[in-house]
Amino acid sequence: MGYTLNFAVVWRNFDRLLEGLALSLGLAVVSILIGAAIGLAVAFALISKYRAAVWPATVYVTVIRNLPILVLVLFAYFALPQMGVRLDKIESFVAVLAIYSGAYLAEVFRAGLLSIPKGLTEAGLAIGLTPMQIRSTIIAPLMLRNVLPSMSSTIISLFKDTSLAAAIAVPELTFEARKINVESFRVIETWIVASALYVATCALIAAVMRQVERRLALPR
């Protein structure tokens, strides 16, 4: 084959990969937090008895989930400025990933909401809580416990989607790896190390989520 593995260049530039990874994680955390807030509101809208709430929520989820995220990333960065909305690279990517996460998490949350017995809402009403208080103190906390396992895979998936920010030159992990690759011609080594970093981070996220799940499990 004539290709001898030599990781020296990659190790020399390892801090750049770590910085990239840190940015990837930062993008994911901020986007997913915003997305979770959107998803929660949209999930309640999806199961609302008011058509005026169900309709826009359904359109949002359907449109966003049926678009490739790369298309959204490119649209937000290149098309929106033409329409007078100017965001820098990072802002535009966070906005896209937040909106994208919102649609996926809305579906996860909706499934969780459907599994909560109606009697709990009635018990809340009976002691005089308002529907809003019931959502925040009873329904949402129970729903989050229910959906932690499926939320874990959604979060991992969304973290991996940060690699698409490379398309608009956000210096996250994939972008940094490509730069090192181009500068050093160490193709195999660079991508092996970058891949290992992705895998390790995802495994860590999964472990943390399992821990959270265990912590929040209802005592019996």
Binding site: I127, G128, T130
Partner: protein
């Protein structure tokens, strides 16, 4: 005669074309303990649920302490009150459910405190003291820190009763509170209800426990097909039913 607490007049409830309550008229006086009996589908649970607006209703009025529940009624027009007003009115009645409906992510004490803190706006320590007092009262003072999943059905139901009663309601509604319990756990729950009755709490109980109704109720309402069929003193009703329907119903109900 004691003061009238609850006044139901011409109450009608429909699901689409199905009429479940066909004009209920009834007065409840302070301190009365009323057992509502009847076969399933007679509308007894629906009646209870209308009283605290867990069900909307289409005709008639329900007033608690002279205040109309759920709707502003002016002549022929009726308008549902705001969620906030309805929530305030619901807090005036307590309700215990067949399925207990405790909040599974909260301890027994937290279940009881929730309404005190969020609805009555009491400080946490004060709410906790009240919660512990009522848990003690239902015999569960030592279970305050337990979660519903760690309690038996009978214990859960007693916590649920404490949660309702801690709000200091004007009226307590019990909806078949022993139907989901194993037979050996029924007694402890009925004991708690007896205690509340002895304290003079006004109560409406939908129940299948005929013996209990006979022992504890000061008055029995027998419902059949969406109307009140018979209404009176348990001794007379159980011993000498005036209507064929009630006689029939009592014959098919077990008295143990």
């Amino acid at each position: 005669m004691a003061k009238t607490l609850l006044e139901i007049a011409g109450l009608r409830k429909t699901y689409g074309t199905l009429e479940v309550l066909k004009g209920i008229d009834c007065q409840v006086h302070e301190g009365e303990v009323i057992a509502i009996i009847g076969s399933s589908g007679s509308g007894k649970t629906t009646l209870l649920r209308c009283i605290n607006m867990l069900e909307d209703f289409q005709g008639g009025t329900i007033s608690l302490d002279g205040e109309e529940i759920g709707y502003h009624v002016e002549g022929p027009t009726r308008r549902r009150k705001s969620e906030k007003d309805i929530a305030r009115q619901r807090a005036l009645t307590g309700m215990a459910f067949q399925q207990f409906n405790l909040f599974p992510h909260m301890t027994a004490a937290q279940n009881v405190m929730l309404g005190l803190v969020k609805v009555k706006r009491l400080p946490k320590d004060e709410a906790h003291a009240i919660a512990v007092k009522w848990l003690d009262r239902v015999g569960l003072g030592d279970r305050a820190g337990h979660y519903p999943g760690q309690l038996s059905g009978g214990q859960q139901q007693r916590v649920a009763i404490a949660r309702a009663i801690a709000m200091n309601p004007r009226l307590m509604l019990f909806d078949e509170v022993t139907s989901a319990l194993d037979p050996e756990l029924v007694g402890e729950v009925l004991q708690v209800i007896k205690g509340l009755a002895a304290d003079g709490m006004t109560m409406l109980l939908v129940t299948h426990e005929m013996r209990f109704a006979f022992e504890v109720a000061s008055r029995v309402i027998f419902m059949n097909q969406g109307v009140i069929c018979e209404d009176g003193n348990p001794r007379e009703m159980f011993v000498a039913p005036k209507t064929e329907r009630l006689a029939e119903f009592l014959k098919t109900s077990s008295f143990n």
